[in-house]
């Protein structure tokens, strides 16, 4: 047991070091962009944690990140690389909006669940397509999900500009591409009055626990993990690998779809342009940073939520390009993925020490080092 805790502790240390490394390299880019990295990072870190606004805004972003991240955890654990969350979010959002606006007379008790189901299902179908393409036709899922993102985006834009556009926009002649508002009875309640933080956060946290239970405590979750960790052995054990690939992608898409639903019901109350806001990609980062564990993804999502808010504030305060945060995020991915190497090969740390400190590895058992 103690060795297990030790492992978790080590993982946290390595992850924080990876984050630090990414920020250090990011500082170079900030200098290149002619801004003061100390000031920039100062804003970036103090902003989101500084006041009620910062904290709640961080949590607002945590929700879609966590939901997308949970889907990523499911798909990656099943051995399928899902880059399609952006499209799946949009599918979920538009599904939720369509149901919400067209059934506005239905009581909230029924309508709200219906909206969640509809959005989740739309995302699940969108993800499931990629899973099916892989299972049936061995289409690489990275390619198909990226392409499906494009298709989803164009479809979404078409819908919010055309068939689903807010009638008011047409009658006023403003033509802003957005749908009508969903009925107020299904807006998610605000957790803190005067802020945007909504009850979707609780929904996402509960879902994280459920995903954990699903993956590690149920036989179906076991199967998904088996397919991901050893598809040949899974097949040998009688698991229908293809079917579980589709299931994994459908679940991942469903999670991302739900992220779209909470963005609609909790934040925007309609579908509009830029709704997915890159959460589909940032969610991957959060999941990786959370070591592809549903519970690990919670703090990781909060962290990346804070980074996003911090970046916004940094942009305003220090006047640096918005793309900078993408650079830093990209760096974090690189560093986190690389740091995996050290966790998997404990000897590599020993070797690194030997190399850099010029020490020999003749020492006592344990981690004491002495020169020879």
């Amino acid at each position: 047991m103690s060795s297990k805790h030790n492992g978790v502790f080590k993982q946290i240390i390595v992850l924080l070091l990876a984050l630090l490394g990414a920020l250090l390299v990011g500082a170079l880019f900030l200098i290149l962009a002619k801004s003061d990295p100390i000031k920039a990072y100062g804003v970036m870190f103090s902003g989101p944690l500084g006041d009620k606004f910062g904290i709640t805004e961080t949590l607002v972003r945590t929700v879609p990140l966590l939901l997308v991240g949970l889907g990523i955890v499911i798909s990656f654990r099943s051995g399928i690389i899902n880059i399609g969350a952006e499209g799946q979010i949009l599918a979920g959002a538009i599904g939720a909006t369509a149901v919400g606006t067209s059934l506005s007379d239905v009581p909230a008790m029924i309508l709200l669940p219906a909206v969640f189901v509809a959005g989740g299902a739309c995302g699940a179908i969108w993800g499931g397509i990629a899973g099916w393409l892989k299972a049936r036709l061995s289409v690489n899922e990275i390619l198909s999900t990226v392409m499906l993102n494009q298709i989803a985006l164009q479809l979404y834009l078409f819908l919010i500009r055309g068939p689903l556009i807010d009638p008011k926009e047409v009658s006023y002649g403003t033509g802003v591409p957005q749908t009508a508002l969903i009925p107020e009875q299904i807006w998610l309640s605000r957790l803190v009055p005067g802020t945007r933080i909504h009850s979707g956060l609780i929904f996402a946290l509960v879902l994280a626990v459920l995903v954990y239970i699903f993956l590690w405590k149920t036989s179906r979750g076991y199967r998904l993990r088996a397919v991901g960790a050893g598809s040949e052995a899974a097949r040998y054990a009688g698991i229908k690998v293809e079917w579980y690939l589709v299931l994994a992608m459908a679940m991942a898409g469903g999670m991302a779809g739900l992220a779209g639903v909470v963005e609609v019901t909790g934040v925007h109350h309609r579908s509009l342009e830029g709704l997915s806001a890159g959460y589909g990609f940032s969610g991957i980062v959060a999941a990786l940073f959370g070591r592809l564990h549903p519970l690990g993804t919670i703090p990781a999502s909060i962290l990346f939520g804070a980074l996003l808010v911090g970046a916004d504030m940094m942009q305003r305060a220090v006047n640096i390009p918005a793309a900078m945060i993408m650079v830093i995020q990209g760096l974090v991915v690189l560093f986190v993925v690389s740091s995996d190497y050290f966790l998997r090969n404990p000897d590599s740390i020993v070797k690194l020490k030997a190399k850099f400190l010029g020490q020999k590895w003749i020492g006592e058992v344990g981690s004491k080092w002495k020169d020879s």
Partner: protein, 509 residues
């Protein structure tokens, strides 16, 4: 090339893994031209020690001296530079590349690889040592035995003069093994040093000059081969006298449990691998499949298990038609299967021991209830399995990837035998097992036989086949040459059949 290795010494090597002391102050020495055999039970720490020498692991304590000079080996590439080559217990080949590409993988410093010259050099090596292999074949198309040969070629190609072989003959046919031993002897005579890990004592006696015996990570004996005997070595290893297992009781088969009728199937290479196999296995029977591997053994097992489609023919399992059914349905009908590739087919390496023990039953009572895994039941089942089958592990949460080769096989065995199958296919089940474990496995198979299980035992080890089988079928080029009662299976008859020569005209096509 680098300085030739005249003398190697590893001293005081200690390596600890979470929960296990894998090597504890181990000392070994080796001179040029010498063959050192390292013996020990499964999990004794042999592979760990060799991985340290090859730069894959760093010892917690101890030093390595080459020609009297202390060296630090940080990686396999540094080991190769020093002239140390290793052929692993488990292959480290890239399946999607060709033999030739695998051999030169990581060698060329230039951007374009010169495959032609490489192919020529590979051919020189293969011709010189009689290692038949097609350099243009893809590795995934090769049998396990052929893949092993690629590994050996890889080390030779890199100019190793100290060659470490971790259970090289576990996957070779008896004849190939003999050839390899001759090759290794030849190499040693020319001044190369060899470290050999093997569970086959006759090979150790035939090849080695000295033997170091490990037990639980500690060197417990270091003897000259000439001054010892197989029996003594066995005793040193296991710590007790060994009595080989024999078939007992009369052969009284019951009803047919597995019936193959004119089975045809294609191999990975697209050619016909099974060309009309008909076989019956009855209750209380062990039917051996003898033959050089690559003659359809893999396909035969896979076809029965539902992992490969038949192109024609029929299979009946337990009286029901199971032709081209899914693996799940076939498992349901009562088939047990110990696959040849225990690491990637028989287990999921990153899964823990308990997860691997329930691989086929995770959705069934008592391990799952309302599709929730029943932890307590699973854990008590697993810990009793670990105890009963002598799986050496710090705990149940350990991923099987961290177990020694022999212990992984025990996990598979434990799972497949306790599932109480109607019919059991065992493909090379004792490969890599130590003599104690082999004896144990044989006794388990015999026990299953007396409980009514019909067993198909695929093996290349004639001694194994003749000691526990009731009947032996010889597979050659996808056909059954003949099925003979074990009493008539003398070495000569079998040898001829395995080479595809039928003595009389009555073959069972």
């Amino acid at each position: 090339m680098v300085e030739k290795i005249k003398q190697l010494e590893m001293s005081g090597i200690t390596k600890r893994f979470p929960g296990v002391l894998s090597n504890n102050r181990v000392n070994i020495q080796l001179e040029a031209g010498e063959v050192l055999a390292i013996l020990g039970e499964n999990g004794a720490g042999k592979t760990t020690l060799m991985n340290i020498l090859y730069g894959l692991y760093q010892p917690d304590a101890g030093e390595i001296l080459l020609n009297g000079k202390q060296v630090r080996i940080n990686s396999p590439s540094e080991a190769i530079e020093l002239g140390i080559g290793m052929v692993h217990q488990h292959f480290m080949l890239v399946p999607t590349l060709t033999v030739c590409e695998n051999v030169i993988l990581g060698l060329s410093k230039r951007f374009f690889v010169d495959l032609k010259t490489a192919a020529k050099r590979i051919k020189e090596i293969t011709d010189r040592y009689g290692l038949a292999i097609n350099p243009d074949a893809f590795v995934w198309q090769l049998s396990v035995g052929e893949q092993q040969r690629v590994e050996i070629i890889k080390a030779l190609y890199r100019g190793a003069n100290l060659l470490i072989l971790d259970e090289p003959t576990a996957v070779l046919t008896p004849q190939e093994s003999n050839e390899l031993i001759l090759l290794l002897k030849n190499m040693a005579q020319q001044g190369n040093s060899i470290i050999l890990i093997s569970h086959k004592l006759n090979e150790v006696m035939a090849l080695s000059d000295r033997v170091t015996v490990l037990r639980d990570g500690v060197v417990c004996a270091n003897v000259k081969t000439q001054e010892t005997t197989q029996e003594e070595l066995a005793k040193l290893m296991v710590g007790r006298e060994m009595a080989p297992c024999r078939r007992e009781g009369k052969y009284s088969p019951g009803k047919i449990v597995l019936d193959l009728q004119q089975v045809h199937a294609k191999g990975d290479k697209g050619s016909e691998a099974l060309a009309g196999v008909s076989l019956q296995i009855k209750e209380n029977e062990i039917l051996g499949i003898a033959g050089v591997s690559g003659n359809g053994q893999k396909e035969l097992a896979e076809v029965i298990a539902g992992l490969r489609k038949l192109s024609s023919g029929n299979i009946f399992l337990n009286g029901q038609d199971s032709t081209n059914m899914s693996p799940a349905e076939i498992i349901e009908q009562g088939l047990g299967y110990i696959p040849e590739d225990r690491i990637h087919v028989g287990t999921i390496p990153s899964f823990s021991i308990w997860e691997n023990l329930i691989l086929k039953d995770h959705h069934r009572s008592p391990f799952a209830k309302y599709s929730l895994l029943q932890n307590r039941k699973i854990m008590s089942h697993s810990s009793s399995q670990v105890e009963k089958y002598g799986i050496k592990t710090p705990d149940l949460e350990t991923p099987t990837a961290r177990l020694s080769g022999g212990n992984i096989q025990r996990v598979v065995l434990a799972r497949e035998i306790t599932r109480n199958p109607v019919a059991l296919i065992a493909a090379y089940p004792t490969r890599g097992l130590d003599i104690g474990a082999t004896e144990y496995l044989h006794s388990k198979l015999l026990e299953a036989r007396s409980n009514g299980v019909g067993i198909l035992l695929i093996s290349e080890d004639l001694e194994e086949l003749t000691s526990i089988c009731d009947n032996i079928a010889v597979l050659y080029e996808g056909k059954i040459m003949k099925v003979i009662p074990v009493e008539q299976a003398d070495e000569r008859t079998m040898g001829l059949l395995m080479a595809g020569i039928a003595q009389d005209s009555q073959f069972l096509n």
